[in-house]
């Protein structure tokens, strides 16, 4: 598909390129720079320079906003709030996900409805229809991270000619379109698995569950060491630094996430790939970029090239972000371009110009994906759901420890909606929600599960539903959750292991579980008993140990009251394998995963 060269420059282009109008002397602020430029050394148009700096400012602002939202995805109490103020986050911290049209499209296909704020994605679609993939170059926080690493990482061998070669358009860039088609097909068949590859989801997941906890750990160790320095000023400075960090970036305690090493490993791998292929993620894998790339063909704003003036200096390619063929002699790939404006700024010959309603003669507007491969990817996406569901995990042998957050919809509907963005896990104040690895089956990878041993579900907390962008966890109120004047939201039921429970097996008083049980009346009740226990020391002159009577409170669960929050499991002092544990049976969202007859309502219409 080598495009024919434009035979002659357009009149408009030659007028703009008039050296009399735009001589270095006239463009005085940049004249010294332009003297160093190779070739004709023409300075870029002022508007191109302005746009480049606007793009940089936009990137910094949006990644700042993203990180600010991410750090605010945590409830920090406030002196300003009264006792009866409902506990909610003040900011729309899930905003980036709401504005993500790939998330919107996927969940529209799987649920045939638009959930609340997801309509915001249309704004981004609109921007793309006018300006092309500006999201990738100007807004996307994950893209900005890759922009940074693609700039900082390449070795000496990754610069110069090899960088020019790497920045030419390659066939492997088609992969993202195939991924997009597969994920949308999977969405249509009922799984929002595409969230695994959504860049915003990845950024929230890997930074929120990996990078921030790791930094917290490192900072705690570092400042903890400084706190032991026998100098008051050092200690106070370390204290102050920890105070500020705890109140702005992290929370009151260290958070740990289940199997999060793999999430961080993938982040590091995809960042490291920048060493070989700049912006590997954005060019090759990103399904959101592909989604916007498909739309970019209609963009009103685009590039014109004056091929005749090109001296093949390749400066445009050195700075190109999207690998979209900005150089002369080939057609520009509009669907790949991130609209970063680097090429026009780099070009010393007035070859490249971004304008509204450009001449499209030397532009390829649509992805050059093969029809058969595209169909095959759609097929693969559609086949994914049955392939994962013929495993036993959903229909016949639902794993008992897959405890979903409170307000989660029924499991099939949940998998239609959950995009694995990890917002719920980040916001959970007790570190209770974790990314599942294969606990919820292949299809459930990185969906949220509650691991009560690490943290329990805070009784009055509904924050996970507040931040969920797709309604996999519904926005319930405290009253609905705690069951004020209605049935509470159950996420499971607690069970005692009498062989390990201290009062049951070892005649030792305990009942921390009963103390922590948050329902009223308590789901854990105690039976007062007097039992005989052998003394631990031998009797006088080697006689066998005697016996004594002890008074004990033995705990029981009332399954009709238990909400499955896991507080009992969290605080059970039997450290390794708790004597009381929660499984998901009896969860409100399921009509089949039940124990008690009274909880089964077959008349209920979902």
């Amino acid at each position: 598909m080598v495009p024919p060269l434009d035979s002659a420059p357009s009149p408009a282009a030659s007028a703009a390129a008039n050296p009399v109008v735009r001589s270095p002397a006239v463009a005085s602020p940049r004249s010294t720079r332009s003297a160093k430029r190779p070739g004709s050394g023409l300075p870029p148009r002022r508007i191109a320079v302005v746009l480049k700096w606007a793009r940089r400012a936009s990137q910094v602002s949006f990644i700042g906003l993203f990180l600010y939202f991410l750090c605010q995805t945590a409830f920090r109490g406030s002196f300003a709030a009264h006792a009866d103020t409902p506990v909610r986050l003040p900011l729309p911290v899930e905003g980036f996900l709401l504005a993500d049209p790939f998330v919107g499209a996927m969940t529209v296909l799987s649920t045939h409805t638009v959930y609340r704020g997801l309509l915001l994605g249309l704004a981004l679609v609109g921007v793309t229809l006018v300006f092309g993939r500006v999201f990738c170059g100007w807004i996307c926080p994950f893209g900005t991270i890759h922009h940074f690493f693609a700039w900082i990482l390449p070795s000496r061998r990754g610069r110069g000619a090899s960088r020019v070669a790497a920045n030419k358009t390659h066939g492997y860039q088609r992969a993202k379109y195939y991924l997009l088609y597969a994920f949308l097909a999977a969405g249509l068949s009922g799984s929002a698995i595409g969230g695994l590859f959504d860049p915003i989801c990845i950024a929230v997941r890997s930074i929120g569950l990996g990078v921030i906890p790791a930094l917290q750990y490192a900072s705690h160790k570092t400042f903890g060491t400084l706190q032991q320095v026998p100098a008051r000023s050092v200690r106070q400075a370390a204290d102050a630094a920890q105070d500020v960090l705890a109140q702005t970036v992290w929370q009151t305690k260290q958070f740990y996430f289940h199997q999060t090493w793999f999430i961080v490993f993938l982040l590091i791998a995809v960042l490291f790939a920048n060493r070989f292929i700049p912006r590997f993620w954005c060019r090759v894998l990103c399904p959101l970029g592909a989604f916007l790339g498909v739309l970019a063909r209609f963009a009103l704003f685009g590039m014109t090239k004056d091929h005749a003036k090109c001296t093949d200096c390749n400066l445009c390619l050195v700075h190109c972000q999207g690998a979209d063929s900005p150089q002369g002699g080939v057609k520009w790939r509009q669907d790949e371009c991130h609209m970063c404006m680097n090429c026009e700024n780099a070009c010393p010959e007035d070859v490249i110009k971004f304008t509204f309603l450009p001449n499209r003669r030397s532009t390829v507007t649509r992805p050059d994906t093969g029809r058969r491969t595209a169909l095959a990817s759609i097929g693969a996406g559609a086949v994914f759901l049955p392939a994962s569901r013929i495993a036993d995990t959903l229909d016949v042998n639902y794993p008992a420890k897959t405890i979903r957050p409170p307000g989660a919809v029924e499991e099939r509907a949940f998998l239609e909606r959950c995009i694995r963005c990890a917002e719920c896990m980040k916001v959970c104040p007790n570190n209770a929600l974790h990314p599942a690895f294969f606990e919820a089956g292949l299809e459930g990878i990185w969906t949220p599960i509650l691991i009560a041993r690490i943290g329990y579900c805070e009784f009055s907390c509904v924050l996970c539903g507040q931040v969920c962008p797709t309604g996999a966890i519904q926005k319930i109120t405290e009253k609905e959750k705690m069951g004020v004047g209605q049935a509470p939201v159950k996420i499971g039921t607690a069970f005692y292991d009498h062989g390990r429970c201290l009062p049951w097996a070892m005649q030792t008083p305990c009942i921390v579980c009963e103390e922590f049980c948050p329902t009223s009346p308590k789901s854990i009740w105690v039976e007062e008993v007097d039992v005989i226990v052998r003394e631990s020391t031998p009797g006088p002159s080697g006689a066998p140990p005697g016996y004594k009577t002890v008074h004990l409170q033995r705990p029981h669960v009332d399954p009709s009251l238990c909400v499955g929050c896991g507080a009992c499991e969290k605080v059970c002092p039997v450290q390794d394998q708790p004597a009381v544990y929660v499984t998901n049976v009896g969860e409100t969202r399921s009509k089949t995963n039940v124990i008690l007859l009274e909880n089964t309502s077959y008349k209920q219409v979902s």
Binding site: F75, R76, G77, S78, F79, A80, A81, H82, A83, D84, T85, V87, H220, F223, G224, Q227, D239, Q242, D243, A246, Q251, T252, K253, Q254, P429, N430, E458, F459, S460, C461, L502, T508, P509, C510, I511, V512, E514, E515, F516, C517, P518, T519, S520, P521, K522, V526, Q553, V571, C572, P573, Q575
Partner: protein, 305 residues
Amino acid sequence: MWDRGGFDLARAAGTRQTRDYRVSDRDTHAELAIARAPAKSEGDDSPNPTATPLELVHRCVDALGGMRRFVSRGDIVVVKPNIGWDRMPIHAANTNPDVVAAVIRTVFDAGAKRVIVADGSCNDPNRCFQRSGIWHAAYDLGAEVVLPEEHHYRNMRLAGDVLDEWPIFTTLVEADKVISVPVAKHHNLAKFTGAMKNWYGVLGGRRNRLHQRIDASIVDLAGFMRPTLVVMDAWRVLVRNGPQGGNIDDARDMRTIVASVDQVAVDAFGCTLIGQRRENVPYLAMGEQRGLGTSLYENLRVKEV
């Protein structure tokens, strides 16, 4: 620096650490003061009580010699309420914010430079501090509120019966004066929780193990922390389903404040409020045995105000 191997070398090296904030003046003031909002006159159906918590705190503390006896000008004072649970004031599972505010105000009036309010919560601390109303109340009066953030904890050697070395919330134990403001309430395992059990809030780490010998651990803690003053909140008392409660029917308005310099005596009196007998609360006798105070509070100079 030279590691000789073997177990417990480091442990044996530490000496017992205690925190004694008592004032050591000899005076003839009351040792235990009880203030109750007096009964309303006949036919008065207004829901408002006859006295505010602030007035009751004032009366109690004045009977003990006034806050100036306990707090000197320029002192850094820690006020330790019970902010253990994610419950609202109506549930009476945490110290009443009005009582905390009253104590903070009295301490500031006595000339304290800084007042720090802190506790180690059981539930999510952000939620407990906010929903107990104490954060708001303390901030309004200019007190500093310190959440139990991880970096505030440091291992200390209590050398008690069950509590040997344990992470301690340093904010609570690094001050000039410490005033304990517990709430009197029912506790299913310890029977009653008040002043002595309030010191569970200084503990970090996994304190769930301690419930196996809860009385011994309470006494260990009361021996470790000897407060300047105890102001017990019995404005509204959780009489069953303690310590967490959750049902407003479990709590009863008693409109009482008790102040003392003797933790054991306060608890011995407090347990009678929930209908408990002091003989049934084992840690009172154990504390008395260890010389932490007396459970026979009648033998002290008691003043009802």
